[in-house]
């Protein structure tokens, strides 16, 4: 038998990596349609999700309830006597939290990818989420309460910031992060944070242990308005800074030197954005635990539609992140009757294979992320 290399297979691999971006005009129309679609989908999911559960409420009654709160006498009120109360004390805070956490994680992921110049960077993958969770768990086990309701969020922020800086210092060389280095750094950081969490579980009492397990799984189950009011301002501030930095992030894609030649204060931008990533991750983690891969999957899908320009990417990620998490949470609490599935498990179940697919694709294009 003679083995001959097929020339056909060579041609097909050479052409596979070359995706030509759509012309800007087409891209802009597509992006506008995409954003409009996201907003419509968000409204629909909120109405359906709020009405789903043990106590069913029709979407028009949910809309009516919201409009009446806004002093607009439009639409029917929930027909069930406890309907309105259920919506406003249980369902809406949970949905609000889902939207906030989703937007926050997706924006944090997009920012991290921009700062690291690497599309595989994500708070969960590189271990920032577990770092934040470990610090938050420490606050519970040691009964810290120096900042009232904000204590856990503050600790999560400190833990998240420390891990982000650590990953940043460990995984970069020559202004860039190689895929392999980043992923390996993530393994190391996740291992250490996991060990700290395990130690805290060992030290803590039964109640603390339960809370830590809840972190590792990730859930929106305990959402209350008071938590929403802690997360909302942090998320809003972080996302606002992210939007302001969008133009500079585009230039940073050229590399640090060229960005500097175009007037970007690279060192300052980097530090500010690392703090913002830690802040956003902490906001998401402190009340919902580790919800991984949202920051990876969402910006990727958005980038495919809007192109790599960061302003559109961030706006799109904000909306799509909220949508994805709202849908994921709806699935988590309705898939199995009378059971609240862990949200983090669901996102990892979908996000893990997606991450794997991205890695495969990265390898195919000779390790280049161009």
């Amino acid at each position: 038998m003679t083995a001959t290399a097929s020339p056909v297979s060579k041609v097909s691999t050479a052409n596979r990596g070359r995706r030509t971006p759509a012309p800007p005009a087409v891209r802009r129309t597509r992006a506008t349609l995409f954003l409009t679609g996201l907003v419509v989908a968000l409204v629909a999911v909120v109405l359906v999700s709020a009405g789903s559960g043990q106590l069913r409420i029709a979407p028009d009654e949910v809309a009516g309830s919201i409009l009446h709160r806004l002093h607009l006498d439009l639409g029917p009120m929930p027909s069930h006597p406890r309907g309105d109360a259920t919506l406003w004390t249980v369902r809406f805070p949970r949905i609000a939290m889902a939207l906030l956490v989703g937007a926050t994680l997706a924006v944090a992921g997009a920012l991290m990818q921009g700062v690291f110049g690497n599309p595989l960077a994500e708070p969960g993958v590189v271990g920032v989420s577990s770092g934040a969770a470990a610090a938050a768990a420490a606050a519970i086990v040691f009964g810290l309460g120096f900042a009232g309701a904000w204590t856990i969020a503050a600790c999560a922020f400190v833990g998240g910031l420390a891990t982000t800086l650590l990953v940043y210092l460990l995984s970069r060389s020559d202004g860039r992060t190689e895929v392999v280095t980043l992923v390996l750094t993530g393994i190391a950081v996740n291992a250490v944070a996991g060990a700290v969490l395990a130690l805290l579980m060992f030290l803590g009492d039964t109640q603390a242990r339960e809370q830590i397990v809840f972190w590792q799984l990730g859930s929106l189950g305990g959402s209350r308005w008071q938590y929403v009011w802690v997360v909302a301002p942090i998320a809003a501030a972080g996302i606002l800074v992210a939007f302001l930095a969008a133009g500079s992030l585009d230039l940073l894609a050229l590399g640090e030197r060229s960005a500097r030649h175009l007037g970007v204060h690279v060192e300052r931008l980097r530090i500010v954005l690392i703090v913002v990533v830690a802040l956003l991750t902490a906001a998401a983690v402190s009340f919902c635990g580790i919800v991984a891969f949202v920051g990876l999957v969402v910006p990727h899908l958005v980038r495919m539609v809007t192109g790599p320009s960061h302003l559109m990417l961030l706006v799109g990620s904000c909306l799509a992140g909220g949508l994805v998490l709202a849908v994921a949470d709806l699935v988590a609490r309705t898939l199995v009757a009378y059971a609240d599935l862990p949200l983090g498990m669901l996102t990892s179940l979908v996000g893990g294979p997606f991450f794997f697919w991205l890695l495969r694709r990265a390898r195919r294009t000779a390790g280049g992320w161009a």
């Binding site: 990596g17 070359r18 995706r19 030509t20 971006p21 759509a22 012309p23 800007p24 921009g114 110049g117 690497n118 599309p119 860039r176 133009g247 585009d250 230039l251 940073l252 894609a253 050229l254 590399g255 030197r257 060229s258 500097r260 030649h261 175009l262 007037g263 970007v264 204060h265 980038r303 192109g307 790599p308 320009s309 280049g368 992320w369 161009a370």
Partner: protein
């Protein structure tokens, strides 16, 4: 600013990385309307000198001034409206198109009246660098030469009076080497000052007003091409027998041709 004042001034610039001295007291002045070629063997300090001129790094000692002001005192944004730099390596982190990359060159003008010219400048720069047909291609999927020309278009779109080019002709074909340096020349005619690191001494001879020859971190010769490109000096600096011949031109001024002297080398062996 006073006429005849140097746009770029480096005085006694010393750069040390640990024990290694990369630049050992370099003086350089570049005026408006001047294209200066930086030449020299590998490791002579050309790129380091360019990095000092662009303000990327502070020299260990000595001063670098752009438009009479020390580089460290410039605000980055203001400096980016005065000088543009083409780096040796061109890469990008996300699949931006060629047009988006060239448009990035307009970033320093955001929020100023010149911003209105963005589209015009981008189109003109892409035309000059001959990358208009690549506008919608992803930068990462281009060949080395196409990337180089797109990055050069970005530098042109920045519309600065000072151009710093690190090996702008690397990986370009013969025609594009010529058209690129021709476009640098026309910017220089309009009053710009340009410094280009060139490895091809024939290109340096043909297109530059002045050649600065660096060797082991020092300027060993600085003057018009005919004064710098002397066979005995080049042979010594490049540690290789080199001959310089003049090809008679139609206008009486011949082109200098720098060639490795292969016969001499053979006889040495």
């Amino acid at each position: 600013m006073t006429a005849g004042m140097s746009v770029l001034t480096a005085s006694n610039v010393v750069v040390r990385y640990g024990a290694a001295e990369v630049l050992a007291g370099v003086d350089l002045r570049v005026d408006r309307g001047e294209l200066v070629a930086l030449v020299g063997p590998n490791g002579a300090g050309k790129s380091t000198l360019l990095a000092m001129l662009s303000g990327d790094q502070e020299p260990t000692s000595g001063t670098v001034e752009i438009l009479g002001r020390p580089v460290a005192e410039w605000r980055l944004r203001a400096l980016a409206r005065e000088r543009a730099m083409l780096t040796q390596e061109q890469r990008i982190a996300f699949p931006f198109s060629a047009r988006e990359v060239v448009t990035m060159g307009r970033a320093p003008w955001r929020g100023r009246p010149e911003e209105d010219l963005d589209e015009l400048e981008v189109a003109a720069a892409m035309h000059t660098a001959e990358v208009t047909h690549l506008a919608d291609r992803a930068f990462g999927s281009m060949s080395g030469g196409e990337k180089g020309r797109t990055s050069y278009a970005r530098v042109l779109a920045q519309q600065t009076g000072v151009l710093l080019l690190d090996e702008p002709t690397a990986s370009l074909d013969l025609r594009h080497q010529e058209t690129l340096l021709d476009s640098v020349r026309s910017r220089v005619r309009e009053g710009a000052a340009a410094v280009a690191v060139l490895h091809d001494l024939n290109l340096a001879a043909a297109w530059s007003d002045r050649i600065v020859l660096l060797h082991q971190g020092r300027v060993v010769s600085d003057g018009p091409p005919s004064a710098v490109l002397r066979p005995e000096l080049l042979s010594e600096v490049y540690d290789h027998p080199i001959s310089v011949i003049t090809r008679p031109g139609a206008d009486g001024q011949g082109d200098l041709l720098v060639l490795p002297d292969r016969h001499a080398q053979r006889s040495l062996l």
